[in-house]
C-alpha cells in the first residue's frame, strides 16, 4: 500500500506565505502612535562630502526642521529669507489652486484625467526651489509643483491637460505628462521608474562633458520595486553620477500600500546603504526639511561627492488620480490624523510665527492664485478642450515617429486622409 504512505518530508513544519496587509481599511480607527517621527532638529547634518557609510542614522531616522511650535530648529534649518519663504508659500498656493481647478475641469468633462498632489506639494515645490533653474529634472506624474516653481506658464500646462490645439505636445500625451526643455523638465513617461536610469544617464553625460548641471529624478515608493530603479541606483553609485534620486513615499501606490514595495522590512532611504549611496529620510510635509535635503544633495553632487537617495515620508491626501476612489481601500481617518500634518499649513504657520505673514495675506494670496488659474483656464479653453474638435491637425499623427517620414507612414497618412475625405466631403481633410 505504497500510495498510503505520507509524502517525503511531510513531518516537517509547513511553510507559510506572508501577504502584506495595511493596518487600516475603510471604517477602521487609525492609530499612528507606532510611527516614530523623531524630534525636529535632532538629526545631525553631515558634511556634504561625507562617506555614505557614515549616514546609517539618516537613512532610518527622519530629518525634520519645523516643530509643533511652528519654529525651525536644528542643523537642517536652511535659514531661508522671509521673501524666499513667501515665494514658496505662493508656489504652494498656486499648486493647490491649480489642482483644485483641474480636478473640477476633469469632472466637468473638459479632460479625461487629472492627478492632484495634495499633501505632497513640498516634495516638489521646495525641492525644485533648492535646485538651480537649469538643473535637469526627470519627474514622475505628481511633480506639477516643479513646473509651477520654475515659472512654466499655467496656460501651457492647461493646454497640455486639454490636449487642445495649443498643446505643445500635439495632443499625444496623457493629461499631466508635461515636457519642457526650456525649463529643463524631462518628458514624463507613464511607464513607472523608467525616468530613473535616464536621469542617471543625463547626469553621467553632464559629467562626461565637464558641464556643471546636475540631474534629479522623482519616483513613487511603489515604483521603487521596478527593476529600472535598481539599475539607476547601481549606475549612479558605480559612476558617482551627479544625480539626486527622490523617492516620494506617499504610503499608497493606487490601492497598494507601501508594504508591497517592501516598507514593512526597512525604509526606502535605507535602500541607499546597500548601493553605497548617501541616503536621507526626510519629513516630506516639512517644506524646510525638503528644501534642506535637496540642497544638501545638490551641493554633494556639484562637489563630485556623488549621488543621494532621498526618501520623502509623506501622505497622498487625495486619490491616486481622478479615476481612483481611495474610500474603497483605506480609512478616511488616515488623512486627517497623518502625524506630519499638511505641508502648506505648516509653512503658513511658520511664516506667521516669524511675524512675516498673516491669515489675511494668505486669504488674499489664495484668492489671487485662484483668479490667475481661472483666467489661465479661460485662456486655454480658447484653444479647445478634449474631444471638442480643437486639436492639432490630423497630419501631425504621422509626424515625429521618425525624424523623416518613411514610405510606410506616408502611405498610412494617405489612407487616413482618404478616410476623412470620404467622411466629410468638401472639407479640408488634414485640419
Amino acid at each position: 500500500m505504497a500510495d498510503k504512505q505520507p509524502p517525503a518530508g511531510d513531518n516537517r513544519p509547513k511553510l507559510a506565505l506572508h501577504v502584506p496587509e495595511p493596518k487600516y481599511r475603510p471604517g477602521d480607527a487609525v492609530d499612528y502612535s507606532d510611527i516614530d517621527i523623531g524630534e525636529p532638529g535632532s538629526m545631525s547634518r553631515p558634511d556634504e562630502t561625507c562617506s555614505p557609510d557614515t549616514m546609517r542614522d539618516h537613512a532610518y531616522g527622519l530629518v525634520r526642521v519645523l516643530g509643533d511650535d511652528d519654529n525651525a530648529a536644528g542643523p537642517w534649518d536652511p535659514r531661508l529669507s522671509p521673501d524666499t519663504l513667501r515665494t514658496m508659500m505662493r508656489n504652494f498656493a498656486m499648486v493647490r489652486a491649480f489642482d483644485e481647478r483641474m480636478f473640477r475641469g476633469q469632472r466637468q468633462g473638459k479632460t479625461s484625467f487629472y492627478m492632484k498632489c495634495t499633501g505632497e506639494e513640498a516634495t516638489s515645490v521646495a525641492a525644485a526651489m533648492a535646485l538651480a533653474a537649469d538643473d535637469m529634472v526627470f519627474p514622475s506624474y505628481r511633480q506639477q509643483g516643479i513646473l509651477i516653481a520654475r515659472g512654466y506658464p499655467l496656460v501651457e500646462m492647461i493646454n497640455q491637460i486639454y490636449s487642445n490645439k495649443g498643446d505643445k505636445l500635439k495632443g499625444r500625451q496623457l493629461p499631466i505628462m508635461y515636457s519642457s526643455r526650456e525649463h529643463s523638465f524631462f518628458s514624463i513617461s507613464g511607464n513607472l521608474a523608467t525616468q530613473t536610469p535616464q536621469a542617471v544617464g543625463w547626469a553621467m553625460a553632464s559629467a562626461i562633458k565637464g558641464d556643471s548641471r546636475i540631474a534629479a529624478t522623482w519616483v513613487g515608493e511603489g515604483s521603487t520595486a521596478e527593476g529600472d530603479f535598481h539599475s539607476a541606483c547601481t549606475f549612479a553609485a558605480v559612476y558617482n553620477a551627479p544625480v539626486i534620486l527622490n523617492v516620494i513615499n506617499n504610503q499608497w501606490a493606487i490601492s497598494s500600500f507601501s508594504g508591497f514595495a517592501g516598507a514593512e522590512r526597512t525604509t526606502f532611504a535605507a535602500r541607499a546603504l546597500g548601493y553605497g549611496l548617501a541616503g536621507l529620510r526626510v519629513d516630506g510635509n516639512d517644506a524646510l526639511a525638503c528644501y534642506a535635503a535637496q540642497q544638501w544633495a545638490a551641493n554633494r553632487a556639484r562637489a563630485n561627492g556623488g549621488p543621494t537617495l532621498i526618501e520623502y515620508f509623506t501622505y497622498r491626501a487625495e486619490g491616486h488620480s481622478t479615476s481612483d476612489d481611495p474610500s474603497g481601500y483605506r480609512s478616511a481617518q488616515e488623512r486627517e490624523e497623518w502625524p506630519l500634518g499638511d505641508p502648506v499649513m505648516r509653512l503658513k504657520k511658520h511664516l506667521i510665527a516669524l511675524g512675516e505673514w498673516d491669515e489675511e495675506r494668505q486669504e488674499a494670496m489664495d484668492r489671487e492664485c485662484a483668479e490667475l488659474v481661472k483666467a489661465a483656464t479661460k485662456e486655454a479653453e480658447k484653444n479647445g478642450i478634449l474631444g471638442h474638435g480643437l486639436h492639432h491637425p490630423f497630419r501631425t499623427m504621422f509626424q515625429d515617429v521618425y525624424e523623416d517620414i518613411p514610405w510606410h507612414l506616408e502611405e498610412q497618412a494617405a489612407q487616413a486622409k482618404h478616410e476623412r475625405e470620404v467622411k466629410w466631403p468638401g472639407e479640408e481633410p488634414w485640419s
Binding site: 535637469m136 526627470f138 505643445k168 505636445l169 500635439k170 499625444r172 500625451q173 505628462m177 515636457s179 519642457s180 526643455r181 524631462f186 518628458s187 513617461s189 511607464n191 523608467t194 530613473t196 536610469p197 535616464q198 536621469a199 542617471v200 544617464g201 543625463w202 547626469a203 553621467m204 553625460a205 553632464s206 559629467a207 562626461i208 562633458k209 540631474a215 527593476g227 529600472d228 539599475s231 539607476a232 547601481t234 549606475f235 558605480v238 515625429d400 515617429v401 521618425y402 525624424e403 518613411p406 514610405w407 510606410h408
Partner: protein, 332 residues
C-alpha cells in the same frame, strides 16, 4: 567584419566628441567578440567604458545621455539578453521624439550580436529582430558584409533616431555558407571584405543586390544572405538575391521591382517562423505584387522552438531547407 565594426566606432569617436561607446566588457578588454578592442586606450575611459550587467540600466542610461545631447552606442553582449532593456527601448527610446513633440530625442545605436550557428545554445543564438520592427519609432539594421557593417554602422550613429544594429555573429569571421561540415572561408578571400579606409556611409533603407537573376527573388539578410548565395551557387540557380540591410525602413521599391521581374519570391531568415519578419515581407509582396506572382511566396526560417544546443544544425535553416523551398517555387 569585427575589424570593420571597430573601424566604424573608431572613426565616429574621432569625428564626433558626443559619441560614447559603452557596454559590458567593452572597455579595457575590448569586448567578448573584440569589436571594441583598443578603443578605450585610444579615446579614453569617459568615451569608451564598461557597464554593470544591467541591460535595463545600459539602455535607460543611454536614453538619458541621448536627451542630454550625446550619441551613445551601447552594446548588448548578446541579443538574447536585450529583453531586460526592452521597455527602455520600446516604450522610451522609440517614442521619446513623438511624445515630447521633438523636444527630446534618443539618438542611440544599440549594437548587439545575434543569430546562431556558433553552438551558443538557446541563450546565445536568438534572432529577435521582429520584435523591434513591430515598434513604431525604432529602426532595425543588419549588415551582411564587412563593407556594409562599417558603412551602415556609421549611418546609424549619425542618425537621429534610435537604431538597433544586429551583428550576425556567425559571419563575424567569414561568410558562412551553411555547409557546416565544410571549413569556413575567411573574409579576406571574399570580395565584400574590402573595407575602404576612413569615413563612408551607406544610407538606411536601401537594399543591396547580392546576385542578379531571373529565376526567383530571395529576400534575406544577415548570415542567411551567404547561405542562400551558396545554395544557389551549388544548385546553379540564377536568383535575384536581395540583402535587405535595413528592415525598418525597408526598401520596398527594390523588393517590388525584383519580384515583378522574377514572379517568384522566397524569404529566408534564421528567426523563428511565426510572426517573424518573413510574415511581414510575405504580406507586403502578396499585397503589392500578387498579379505578378507565378507561385506562392515561400518562407524558410528557423523552427518555432528555442535554439537547441546539441541539435543546432537541425534547427539552422541550412542548404537543404533553402534548396527544397527553391525547388518548390520553381516547380509551380
Amino acid at each position: 567584419m569585427i575589424e570593420a565594426i571597430n573601424d566604424a566606432l573608431d572613426i565616429m569617436l574621432e569625428r564626433d566628441p558626443d559619441v560614447i561607446v559603452m557596454g559590458e566588457d567593452i572597455g579595457y578588454f575590448g569586448g567578448v567578440f573584440r569589436c571594441t578592442a583598443g578603443l578605450q586606450e585610444k579615446h579614453g575611459k569617459t568615451r569608451v567604458f564598461d557597464t554593470p550587467i544591467s541591460e535595463c540600466g545600459i539602455i535607460g542610461v543611454a536614453v538619458g545621455m541621448g536627451a542630454y545631447g550625446l550619441r551613445p552606442v551601447p552594446e548588448i553582449q548578446f541579443a538574447d539578453y536585450i529583453y531586460p532593456g526592452l521597455d527602455q527601448l520600446i516604450s522610451e527610446a522609440a517614442r521619446l521624439r513623438y511624445r515630447s513633440a521633438t523636444e527630446y530625442i534618443a539618438p542611440l545605436t544599440v549594437r548587439s550580436p545575434f543569430g546562431g550557428g556558433i553552438f551558443g545554445g538557446q541563450t546565445h543564438s536568438q534572432s529577435p529582430e521582429a520584435i523591434f520592427t513591430h515598434v513604431a519609432g525604432l529602426k532595425t539594421v543588419i549588415p551582411a558584409t564587412p563593407y556594409d557593417a562599417k558603412g551602415l554602422l556609421i549611418s546609424c550613429i549619425e542618425d537621429n533616431d534610435p537604431v538597433i544594429f544586429f551583428e550576425p555573429k556567425r559571419i563575424y569571421n567569414g561568410p558562412f555558407s551553411g555547409f557546416y561540415d565544410k571549413p569556413v572561408e575567411p573574409w579576406k578571400r571574399h570580395a565584400d571584405s574590402v573595407v575602404p579606409e576612413g569615413h563612408y556611409s551607406i544610407p538606411l533603407g536601401k537594399a543591396r543586390t547580392v546576385t542578379e537573376g531571373e529565376q526567383l527573388t530571395v529576400l534575406t539578410y544577415g548570415t542567411m544572405v551567404h547561405v542562400t548565395e551558396a545554395v544557389c551557387r551549388e544548385q546553379g540557380i540564377e536568383a535575384n538575391i536581395l540583402d535587405l540591410r535595413t528592415l525598418v525602413p525597408l526598401d520596398i521599391e527594390a523588393i517590388e521591382e525584383s519580384v515583378r521581374k522574377t514572379g517568384r519570391c522566397l524569404i529566408v531568415h534564421e528567426a523563428t517562423r511565426t510572426s517573424g519578419f518573413g510574415a511581414e515581407l510575405s504580406a507586403l509582396v502578396t499585397e503589392r505584387c500578387f498579379y505578378h506572382l507565378e507561385a506562392p511566396v515561400e518562407r524558410v526560417t528557423g523552427f518555432d522552438t528555442p535554439y537547441p544546443h546539441s541539435l543546432e544544425w537541425a534547427y539552422f535553416p541550412g542548404p537543404v531547407r533553402i534548396g527544397e523551398a527553391i525547388d518548390k517555387i520553381l516547380k509551380d
